[in-house]
């Protein structure tokens, strides 16, 4: 399969919203290359005739009545937030200046 380069790692870091340093990107590029080489072993036996398993114990859809249960109060839900206005989470600007 494919080689991983630093540009790809920087792109992945952006997708994952982690502002990696140049040094971290360099280090991870080498490590991910080795790890991917090791895990590519799965392709040796993952032939088209084998169905995938997503979940270890087969289960049917689980339903419940559509009624409000025992839920957190607004105060509890906001208790761990870095910033709130008493009824909502407060975040910084969604759009940058150039947008």
């Amino acid at each position: 399969m494919s080689e991983i380069n630093a540009e790809q790692v920087a792109h992945l870091a952006n997708l994952a919203r982690i502002a990696l340093t140049e040094e971290e990107i360099e280090h991870l590029t080498a490590e991910l290359g080795q790890i991917m080489q090791a895990v590519e072993k799965v392709s040796e036996v993952a032939t088209p005739d084998v169905p995938p398993t997503s979940h270890p114990i087969p289960m049917q859809n689980v339903f419940r009545d559509d009624v409000v249960g025992d839920i957190l109060t607004v105060e509890q839900a906001l208790s761990g937030a870095p910033e709130s206005d008493g009824s909502r989470f407060v975040v910084s600007a969604i759009l940058g200046e150039e947008q």
């Binding site: 399969m1 870091a13 790890i35 090791a38 895990v39 169905p51 398993t53």
Partner: protein
């Protein structure tokens, strides 16, 4: 008195409490004293709440005195892995990103231990978000193995295992995604059980890989693990993967343990040169003992187990990268604003850069890659196929035998720092434990002795078909009885005395 109380098993302590011989306040105080004395050296705990523990204990004592009917573990102290959220008590999962977060609710297993009258002492150390096999990836520093303080206590649940091995708590809760309960049990001479996937609710367990995670008991004896599983297992409507059917008593399975006629399969692929000699010799001695007890030992093959680690390190990072997206600086935990401010996305990026450690970043990036367009089928899709093949191996094996046996991990406890710079070598620790998580089947690690070459503990693992957890308690309980009889006492009686650290702490005025 206090030294005596900490050496009781949870079952024994429960009986003493029920008879009125000992109060829960006395038992709790004895464990808090022990923590104060030795945890400076062991560092099993991230948080201890002595005051609340003593209040809970006093309440149980009052209820007992008033004649209330209480369960077998009422008044018994317990330590909780920091991956489980606890109302009013910090829960970090070993990460800086959750430093200081105090959850507004209890995880279901925590709620159940509280309802059983157990006394929560505090939260135990772990690899950050349960990613690791040594606790060295904790943002708050490693835990040290009570058998040798220069060695790892296993991971990710090294704190829970070390807390029971060091007699700081009679029992603890752990979580096992690829071996995080069983491998620490192996290297600390303790008992660890990963129940069937879905046996214990995952509600309030900070998710690593949702299709693999399972909460379970960490104890010094098989009976204690059974009593604890009886408390925490059972259907929970808050977890859609929770198994609805009722469970038989695991404690009864231990009390009736008998291996006569039991067919035990030895997985030949996990009985190889890749395992340390002392790990293998203790494994085979344990099997011989079981054979003398009437069990039949059969060799079985699981040809796809060797692909388990590769599949695991695709499935786990993929699910983790998705689960850890919730740490976005908005609803809980850390927020880091870049110099001069920034958009919400830049704040997220800076927060996650500062809040996550290297192993977490490595796995998030790996998972993001494995799930990205164009690679999904080749990586995640193929790993899911391996999962099917591993399940088929289990099905074929369990058609011939009742339980499977393997060494729990390839080596005894290695030195701190030894594998920290080599992620692939670290991942190999879980070679024998991962297949159970991929297939959802239950597993137990029971002490099998000390490796002759280094004097360090070795565990033996048993695996059973899904929903047949009771078989593990049967074979584990039977082996433990035979071994303890042979040894003339529990393995942990041979662990080094940590009282020199106690004395050092006393001299420094800590105690």
């Amino acid at each position: 008195m206090s030294e005596h109380l900490i050496r009781l098993t949870a079952a024994q302590l429960g009986e003493r409490l029920a008879s009125g011989d000992v109060s829960s306040v006395e038992a709790t105080r004895a464990h808090l004293d022990r923590i104060a004395a030795v945890d400076g050296a062991v560092h099993a705990f991230l948080h201890v709440d002595g005051e609340r523990a003593l209040d809970t204990a006093a309440d149980i004592d009052r209820r007992r005195a008033a004649g209330e009917e209480l369960g077998p573990l009422a008044g018994v102290p317990i330590a909780i892995k920091d991956v489980l959220v606890t109302e009013g008590m910090p829960s970090t999962a070993g990460s800086r990103i959750l430093e200081g977060w105090v959850p507004p609710y209890d995880a279901t297993p925590v709620r159940r231990v509280r309802e059983a009258g157990m006394v929560v002492l505090g939260k135990t150390n772990m690899d950050e978000f349960a990613m690791g096999s040594s606790t060295e990836h904790s943002a708050y520093g490693p835990t040290y193995n009570p058998w040798d303080l220069e060695r790892i206590p296993g991971g990710s649940g090294g704190g829970s295992a070390a807390s029971v091995a060091a007699f700081e708590a009679p029992v603890a809760l752990g979580s096992d995604t690829g071996g995080s309960i069983r491998q620490p049990a192996h290297v600390t001479g303790t008992v660890g059980v990963k129940p069937t996937y879905g046996a214990v609710s995952r509600y309030g367990s900070i998710a690593l890989a949702s299709s693999l995670d399972q909460v379970g008991p960490v104890t010094r004896t098989v009976l204690d693990a059974a009593l604890l599983q009886d408390v925490i297992a059972g259907h929970d409507p808050r977890d859609s993967t929770s198994i609805p059917e009722a469970w038989p008593s695991m404690a009864d399975a231990v009390r009736r343990a008998d291996v006569a006629g039991l067919r035990i399969g030895v997985v030949k692929e996990l009985d190889s040169d890749g395992f340390q000699s002392g790990v293998r010799s203790r494994f085979h001695e344990a099997l011989e003992l079981l054979e003398r007890g009437g069990a039949e030992i059969v060799e079985v093959s699981a040809p796809h187990f060797e692909y388990s680690i590769a599949a695991y390190y695709l499935i786990l990072p993929a699910e983790a990268s998705s689960n850890l997206a919730k740490f976005d600086s908005v609803r809980f935990g850390l927020r880091v604003t870049p110099e001069g401010g920034g958009t919400v996305e830049q704040v997220m990026g800076a927060t996650r850069e500062a809040g996550f450690g290297p192993e977490v970043k490595r796995r998030i990036i790996l998972g993001t890659y494995a799930l990205s367009a164009g690679y999904y089928d080749a990586y995640y899709g193929s790993a899911q196929k391996v999962r099917t093949l591993v399940q088929r191996d289990f099905d074929a094996a369990f058609a011939k035998v009742d339980v499977l046996a393997t060494p729990t991990a390839p080596t005894t406890a290695f030195k701190l720092g030894e594998k920290l710079d080599d992620p692939l070598a670290m991942y190999l620790n879980d070679i024998a434990t991962i297949p159970a998580n991929l297939a959802g089947v239950p597993g137990i690690s029971v002490p099998a002795g000390l490796a002759p070459e280094d004097g360090l503990p070795v565990g033996i693992q048993f695996l059973a078909p899904a929903r047949e957890d009771a078989r593990l308690y049967n074979v584990g309980g039977a082996l433990e009885r035979l071994l303890v009889e042979q040894w003339g006492g529990p393995l942990l009686d041979r662990a080094p005395d940590l009282s020199s650290h106690e004395m050092a702490a006393a001299e420094e005025g800590v105690v």
